[in-house]
């Protein structure tokens, strides 16, 4: 016991993806205990949401999972629109589906590049970001912003898809599959990568369920659970896609599940862009002058499948123009909490590899 050395990884550390601090106790190279310390990006979004209009709260959700902002917006609006009673029209639903899936790909690409850096691979990062730039141009065209789009709004979307965006998305669908294959082969054809991930960081099904892990991490442990299928929202019940599931539960499984999710997302987008209906892109009840006068009462919980896992928003309204209480179920928080379990008795290098596969985004964990 006395020979264990305490080591602090972070908050500034190249492998912690932001501001995670890992208090680890090492015995030589082997990590005996790991305790994540979080809260270094606690930006009190939940408190601020209580003091802001329903329509403006969207910006705090953008800044939660900042690598896949439209996905977060969709999550918030699922709840807020039910509470306020302004359902979006059909076209807006399809547009949101496309944006959410694009953001899922963008988020997984950032993760992929960062995971390469975690393992010491310098090059895949650039290839991933190169593909991600294509998504960024779509976002810029649609919303005017690259990262934090603030594109969806209550009762619809901020502006309609024009010809150019549709063309850009079609271009993206054409090049994305081959690029994803290229990225995939950069990793899985490498023996050292396989040796760093296969069988490392095993998480059993029971542990995953017990800790409330969701998203690709849960699916890699053999639970076929995806909110898009379990409780379809947006247009997910009208498109064909499969949930990638692996029963291995190790780093490699989590890696492959995410890669397969990207492929499925491309599939969803290509179906959605074909089915994109004509019509209004926002609910007339939610026109701009009405925005700040919308009142909501009661309580609503909506869950969506964000790129990290099940993203839930619980809004309680008291009949005012501002929410009474907003609570966010952050998938990354639960995914991180399991690190205490699976990060034990591994080597330091493996701890980095494992915490890499949990795909942490701190805007969402600390909020």
């Amino acid at each position: 016991m006395s020979e264990w050395v305490e080591l602090n990884m972070g908050p500034q550390h190249p492998s912690t993806h932001g501001v995670l601090r890992l208090k680890i106790k090492v015995e030589g190279e082997i990590v005996r205990e790991v305790e994540p310390v979080i809260g270094y990006l606690h930006r009190n979004a939940e408190k601020l949401c209580e003091n802001t209009f329903f329509c403006d709260n969207l910006l705090y959700f953008d800044r939660m999972d900042y690598v896949g902002a439209p996905g977060m917006e969709v999550g918030y609006l699922e709840a807020a629109e039910k509470l306020l009673g302004v359902p979006p029209p059909e076209r807006a639903i399809w547009i949101r589906t496309i944006m959410a899936e694009l953001s899922r790909i963008a988020s997984h690409l950032v993760w992929l590049g960062a995971y390469g850096l975690d393992l010491g691979m310098l090059t895949p990062f650039f290839y991933a970001f190169d593909l991600r730039e294509k998504i960024m141009t779509i976002f810029v065209e649609a919303s005017g912003s690259r990262l934090l789009t603030n594109y969806c709004s209550i009762g619809g979307v901020y502006q309609d898809f024009n010809e150019k965006i549709v063309q850009e998305i079609e271009d993206f669908i054409n090049i994305a599959p081959s690029k994803i294959e290229e990225l995939n082969s950069l990793f899985v054809k490498n023996d050292i990568f396989i040796s760093r991930t296969k069988g490392i960081g095993y998480m059993s099904k029971e542990v995953a369920i017990d800790y409330g892990v969701t998203g690709p991490m849960l699916r890699a442990s053999g639970v076929e659970y995806d909110v898009r299928k379990a409780e379809p929202y947006l247009a997910y019940s009208k498109v064909n896609f499969e949930i990638p599931v692996s029963s291995k539960g190790d780093n490699l499984a989590r890696f492959l599940v995410r890669i397969e999710e990207m492929r499925q997302s491309v599939k969803i987008i290509s179906q959605a862009i074909k089915k994109l209906p004509d019509g209004p892109f926002f609910n007339p009840k939610a026109k701009k002058s009405m925005m700040i006068r919308m009142r909501g009462e009661g309580e609503v919980y909506a869950r969506t499948e964000a790129s990290k896992g099940e993203f839930g928003v619980y809004i309680v309204g008291d009949g005012g123009v501002k929410p009474y209480r907003v609570r966010v179920r952050s998938p990354s928080l639960k995914n991180l909490s399991v690190l205490r379990e699976i990060g034990k008795n591994v080597m330091i290098a493996d701890l980095v590899a494992i915490s890499g596969t949990t795909d942490l985004v701190f805007g969402e964990i600390d909020r």
Binding site: G116, G120, L122, F126, I192, R196, A349
Partner: protein
Amino acid sequence: MSLLSFTYGIFKVLGYDLATFVTFLIDSIVFLLVASVAVAGTIYFFRKYMARVQLRIGPNRVGKFGTLQLIADAFKLFGKESILPRLRDDLPYKVAPVLVFIGLLVAFSILPYGSLYYIGDIFISNSGVGIILLFAVLAIMPIGELLAGISSHNKYSLIGALRAVAKDISFEVPMMLSVLAIVVMASARTTNSLNISSVVTSELLPYGILEPLGLFVFFISMIARASYTPFDMGESESELVSGYSTEYTGMRFGLFYLGMFGTILLGSFIVSLFYLGGYNGPYSSDIGLIYLLIKAVIVVVISFTVWLAMPRIRIDKFVNFGWKYLLPISVINLVLAGFLTIYLGW
């Protein structure tokens, strides 16, 4: 005719003692400068090559195509504040980077570089036991890394140093065995089989073709010696911040940085000398240096490609690999070399 006698001819008027002294002095200085510039060129080349591989442009703002980038870096590093950790071990802390860099330069001055038109054979030291000397000098550099890690009073540095030592121990033995195989094969053709230039001259067919296993072991050892990915466990940027050099600032860090790239270049020279035929080839008495340089550059490019494409291996797996695979392979290689030498008369 060699570089030394060429210079000696100029200073002959000074008398034997003085002329010899001045010859070695001037040649060494010129040589150190050339070696430093070559290392800087390697870094520049790496940054450009890395940029190209990663769909980028690379440095292009200072000088034409950014050629002065390294000079700018050097100026900046010279001008940086030198922070010394309060609880450091003073002497080892200061000696470590110097040790790494000096070891590198000395190793460069042991190698023969072939010949070029009027200058003749280019070497500084043509020691009769050059191979032993070379690997003795190469063994100094990890000591510098170890001292740096232990003396900087930082847990990351300490773990980095421990990893570096574990790594060094596991590849040194196979490396030496594979070099021994070369000495064995060379002994059939030359009387002075520990002299590097006679070993290189004796390889009419490159030893890399005769003993590919040796080339494999030696190349991996050279990657591990230069400690870049996949074998950069001592530094491991994403795990140990910067490994043994975490606490170093300014030019002290610059020396580690130069040392790393210098070792890549040095390793490429050694690999091309011992295994790829070195400066042998048609008209080698005139343009031997060119042959060597081309081979070295090819090896450098291969090394960089490996660096950019590979993830880092875990330290225990590398130790396993070293003792369970590299060592038996190098022993087999040695036996094969002896067999070839005795029965086939190579």
